[in-house]
């Protein structure tokens, strides 16, 4: 039998039993669609995080208190606090390093802001004038924190766009007095909206000089020191020099962790890639289930068409011909199912992107190839058994079933 005839025969056979055929096509389609949508979700999360970190500013190096065991970055030890303090003086000392373009201290805490008769919880970030350029923020109105001695802060504040909106609405905020905790501060600037970054929504942050924040929270420690290297190539030098300087300043003890944006990115990238792969693996189980369904559908087909198989043998069909016809049918079910599922999955990812425009939910290529490949192989693999059963049927017995 010619291969084109085998294919046509298999196609007609599949079309001859629409319910059974659409059922297995559907199962296969759902499996593939699940892989495509879920990996689009996972990879979307990865891209989202990577984009966020890229938005932090280039050549960023972050110093945090506490020594991490591996020297690398992990979300766990980023959160641990240590008794050893990181101070404003430490931060200032780093500005004199040759490889450092800028450095900014960062003290953080929660407080309440009240002004214009309104009260609101805010995140307070105590920092310095250099922070604006390190993070590549832009001003909407006024100016950022003034330059000057980091250990003696002026009673001024810069507010994020959302705070401005909620407290002052359309009226100007620059020049107004606000109460932050027990301090009275004058607003000198409003930031342009930037959105999420470094784990906090910058639009809901009040920036004050580091010294003001420290006295507000009655502490002299820093949460972080942010550093911008002179160039990408000098990031390693920054790491080395910063570690050396702070070690000297801390009585010879290396009690800080220096992390680079690259390292953070690489970690998140790895983490979310692993997550995506895991999700893909789980979704792939539905493909195996679909494969088993195709097998059962084909077994039913063999039983239902036993008489026909007997006839084909009486008409001179070889065992191999019958096997090929049933294999082709299973392959077609899987193929149509896989591509329908691919289409459905792409549509699902499209809907996701429409619903959450910030979320780049595109399925990664490897996932698409793996899903289609798995669908076709399971379909074929699970098609072998029923096809062989059909080929081995005894023609006399088969012909009696009609």
């Amino acid at each position: 039998m010619r291969s084109s005839d085998v294919l046509r025969f298999a196609r007609d056979a599949a079309a001859g039993y629409p319910l059974r055929t659409s059922l297995s096509v559907l199962a296969m389609a759902i499996g593939v669609a699940a892989v495509v949508v879920l990996t689009a979700l996972g990879d979307g999360a990865r891209r989202y995080v990577v984009d966020q970190f890229s938005a932090l500013g280039s050549n960023l190096v972050i110093v945090l208190p506490g020594r991490s065991a591996t020297g690398g970055f992990s979300p766990a030890n980023a959160l641990t606090t240590t008794p050893r303090d990181l101070t404003v003086d430490d931060a200032f000392a780093l500005t004199r390093l040759p490889s450092v373009r800028r450095a900014a201290p960062l003290a953080a805490g929660n407080s309440e802001i009240s002004a214009n008769g309104r009260l609101r919880e805010v995140v307070v970030a105590g920092t310095a004038s250099t922070y604006l350029d390190i993070r590549s923020f832009r001003m909407a109105q006024g100016s950022f924190l003034p330059e000057g001695d980091w250990s003696r802060g002026a009673p001024v504040a810069v507010i994020g766009s959302k705070i401005k909106e909620e407290i002052f609405g359309g009226s100007p905020a620059v020049g107004e007095l606000v109460r932050l905790g027990d301090r009275r501060l004058r607003i000198v600037g409003v930031l342009r909206p930037v959105g999420q970054g470094l784990g906090m929504n910058t639009d809901e942050v009040v920036f004050v000089p580091a010294a003001v924040a420290q006295s507000l929270f009655n502490t002299n420690t820093l949460f972080r020191i942010l550093i911008e290297a002179r160039s990408r190539g000098e990031i390693e030098a920054v790491k080395r020099e910063v570690t050396a300087v702070l070690k000297a300043r801390h009585g010879g003890e290396e009690d800080i962790t220096v992390i680079t944006q690259d390292a953070v990115l690489a970690t998140f990238d790895r983490l979310l890639r692993a997550l995506t792969a895991a999700v893909a693996g789980i979704a792939a189980i539905s493909l195996a289930v679909a494969g088993i369904l195709v097998m059962n559908v084909m077994l039913v087909a063999v039983t239902q068409r036993t008489g026909e198989i007997g006839l084909l043998k009486a008409l001179g069909a070889r065992g191999a011909t019958i096997r090929n016809a049933f294999m082709a049918e299973a392959a077609m079910l899987s193929l149509v199912g896989a591509f329908t599922g691919y289409g459905l999955g792409l549509f699902g990812a499209f809907v996701l992107r429409r619903l959450y425009p910030v979320f780049p939910a595109y399925p990664p290529d490897w996932a698409v190839i793996a899903a289609l490949g798995t669908a076709l192989t399971t379909g074929l693999l699970f098609g072998i058994m029923p096809a062989r059963r059909a080929a081995r049927l005894d023609p006399v017995q088969a012909l009696m079933k009609h």
Partner: protein, 232 residues
């Protein structure tokens, strides 16, 4: 040389402990172009014999020579090739593929044999014309009458121009008039030289054949070609 030579054929079915001797000590020769009716009571082994002649089944003992060639020792694929080219089957229940049209059903053996589409189409057209089915080419089996279905089945059985046509109760599912039409059709094919072997319960149909084989309990009780030799 006879077209079909059976010598010492035995066929035993085992059902648990008991053995059913469906065919015993069978020696028959059939010449090319003969018209043979196989008759006998139910369970006498008629269908078993026909399946054996059609290479759908293998004997437990004895030899079967078709056109001088021992076909019992052939591999399954070689037997399939012989079925494809030399043997045509007609069944009591027609055995048409329900999703295929009359034309497609007729084309089936040629498709299985890997014949080119153009040659297939040519032969199907001829067959439809010869069997008066031109108006029914695109009808599916459920849109055909019983007689038309059996005509499609006969067209399919003969389209490869086999050496022998095997028919098991070809009129069993048809009324008398339609059955007679089908027998006339088969006899016309025989008149053109095709060897015809028909299994039937019907005395009237059986007596129309030039040669009768009477089966009983798996044995050949009577052969009209050799009245003295077999009886007893």
């Amino acid at each position: 040389m006879a077209l079909i030579e059976l010598a010492g054929i035995e066929r035993v079915f085992h059902l648990g402990d008991s053995a059913v001797h469906a065919l015993t000590r069978l020696d028959v020769g059939i010449e090319a172009g003969e018209y043979v009716a196989i008759m006998g009571p139910s369970g006498s082994g008629k269908s078993t014999l026909l399946n054996l002649l059609g290479l759908l089944d293998r004997p437990d003992a004895g030899t079967y020579r078709l056109e001088g060639r021992d076909v019992t020792t052939l591999s399954a694929d070689e037997q399939a090739a012989v079925r494809s080219r030399r043997i045509g089957f007609v069944f009591q229940s027609f055995h048409l593929v329900p999703r295929l049209t009359a034309a497609e059903n007729i084309a089936l053996p040629m498709m299985l044999a890997g014949m080119a589409a153009a040659e297939r189409a040519r032969r199907v057209a001829t067959a439809l014309k010869d069997f008066g089915l031109e108006q029914r080419a695109d009808h599916r089996p459920d849109q055909l009458s019983g007689g038309q279905r059996q005509r499609v089945a006969i067209a399919r059985a003969t389209v490869m121009q086999p050496a022998v046509l095997l028919a098991d109760e070809p009129t069993g599912n048809l009324d008398r008039a339609t059955g007679d039409d089908v027998i006339n059709l088969l006899e016309a094919l025989n008149a053109h030289g095709m060897t015809l072997i028909v299994v039937t319960h019907d005395q009237k149909i059986g007596s129309r054949a030039r040669r009768q084989l009477m089966m009983e309990d798996g044995e050949l009780k009577f052969d009209s070609a050799r009245p003295a030799a077999v009886a007893g």
